[in-house]
């Protein structure tokens, strides 16, 4: 179980995240949904142990996160793979660090099998620069899965992909989650409402400046329904409308608090 307890993060004087307080049960697929700059990536980095909290903190199974967390692996939007290594070597590096007792030949076979699992058989010897964006993200996912971690963190991993590749990779990640049968918790950052509805069994909405949780919604339909059925499902349509309403209310409130026009005194 992941627990955020009164988590605050500020950079210099700017508060980025304020009073984040929620828990994630094991095996969930949680989508952190919010607009650009609302601090969702920061939240993910704190959970991964890549960034310290200013106050409060995160625990995984009761143990506080401090420093890069072994229970987590991360897929970033860009620059996940090391460009100077072939795709296969990228996986082998991760595997060798995780299984120091295994022989090189075993590690190589494992790396090949992980690449095949994400539909990338035959690119072992290719450098990441020769792969398309979608293939690179598949390889990054394969590397994240190769690490024996229970929690997979994804920071807008499909943000730079074309719609077709994006849909294919969403299906892949959903399938991987389903196949893990609750053994793997996934935390997925996105600003796309439909993507969150399709993937997340639970959606956490973040408001901006400062970043804070403004709503948490369960989305049980995402567990079983196919893409076509999901977006025709009454509960999902209702949820979609609700999320948009919450965002609209949050933005209106923020605009009301801001001075849009100055009086012009002193000009």
């Amino acid at each position: 179980m992941i627990e955020f307890r009164d988590l605050n993060v500020s950079f210099q004087d700017k508060t980025v995240l304020e009073k984040i307080d929620f828990t994630v049960a094991d095996g969930e697929f949680v989508c952190l949904l919010g607009q650009s700059g609302c601090g969702k990536s920061t939240l993910l980095r704190v959970l991964a142990g890549l960034l310290p909290a200013t106050s409060g903190g995160v625990t995984i199974d009761g143990r506080a996160v401090c420093g890069p967390e072994r229970a987590c692996s991360v897929v970033f939007q860009d620059y996940s793979l090391f460009p100077w290594m072939t795709t296969g070597k990228n996986l082998m590096l991760a595997l060798a660090a995780s299984y120091p007792e295994k022989k090189r030949a075993e590690i190589r076979d494992l790396a090949e099998s992980y690449l095949e699992m994400v539909g990338l058989g035959g690119v072992f010897g290719q450098y990441p620069a020769t792969l398309s964006g979608g293939m690179r993200q598949r390889a990054a996912i394969a590397r994240a899965l190769a690490i024996p971690s229970r929690i997979l963190l994804m920071d807008e991993p499909f943000g730079a992909l074309d719609p077709v590749n994006r849909a294919m990779l969403q299906d892949l990640i959903k399938e991987l989650h389903r196949d893990s049968r609750g053994a793997r918790t996934m935390i997925f950052v996105t600003h796309d409402v439909d993507e969150a509805l399709y993937l997340g069994t639970e959606i956490v909405l973040l408001g901006s400046s400062p970043g804070r949780v403004i709503a948490r919604e369960k989305n049980p339909a995402a567990r079983n329904l196919t893409r076509e059925k999901l977006f025709n499902d009454g509960s999902v349509i209702g949820l979609q409308r609700k999320i948009m309403d919450i965002y609209r209310a949050d933005m209106t409130e923020k605009l009301n608090h801001r001075t849009l026009f100055h009086s012009g005194n002193g000009i």
Partner: protein, 296 residues
Amino acid sequence: MKILLFIGFAALTAAALLHADHRVAGAGALIAGVTLIRALLAGRGGRRRTILDVSALLCGFLLAWQLAAANFRVLDPVLFPTPEEVLKLFFGEFGEMFKGMFSSLYLLGSAYFLALATAIPAGLAVGGSERLRDAAEPFSKVLSAIPPIVYIPYAIALLPSFSAASIFVIWSGAFWPIFVNTIAGVVNIPETLLDSARMLHLKKRIFIFRILLPGAMPSILTGASLGLIFSFLLLTAAELIGATEGLGWYVKNYSDFADYGKVICGIIFIGLVITAITAVSRRIEKALLRYREVRK
């Protein structure tokens, strides 16, 4: 335009050929003219065109030198011997220069590899720590701007031999560009890439050799080629310290005796050595950055 150039070259080549004392040089000029015209007529791009262009420029230069020094005698014959004389001298002096090359390459090679072996680890260590970086920056800014020749008296006083002092002077010139560029290379590795590496929980040694070093490599190589140029610049200065042979010494020595034919031979020979070394270092650079070549 091309026709005018053609007529011009034909006239100049004829002038060179008709000069009774310089028939050999005249024939050389004829070849130069032909090469130039071929370069002008060469079609599409590519390697072939570059080679033709470079040889045309070279031939054009030789032709101009020949005409100015031998045919029209507008240059001081002591300072500017004719290409023909220099060519004869070059083959005569080749043995001595070749021997000198080894002595120079010993100094240059030791100093340069010492610079690589000290500057890259130091740069990786300093680049990886913000605190060290802030502390080292003022020193590297000041020290890298001081010409290493000012250290010569100290090097002679403190180091056991003349060659050690020479190596020190070349090293101190090559060190800074490599050091500063290694730091820049580490700083410029994208933060996400480093975060990815941190999440893999790599051992320190693996993190340095598989992530930091290759990540900083493009910048390190820029520093390394700058360092190589600095080494060559300092070679002559270093060979002023008690050397009795070597390329820098050769040029400086004959310059002192006003034997400018040999000075020019030395310059040409140094040029050839630099060309060879640069070609090798290009190859190495290409091999190390192979992953960048495969972009679609």
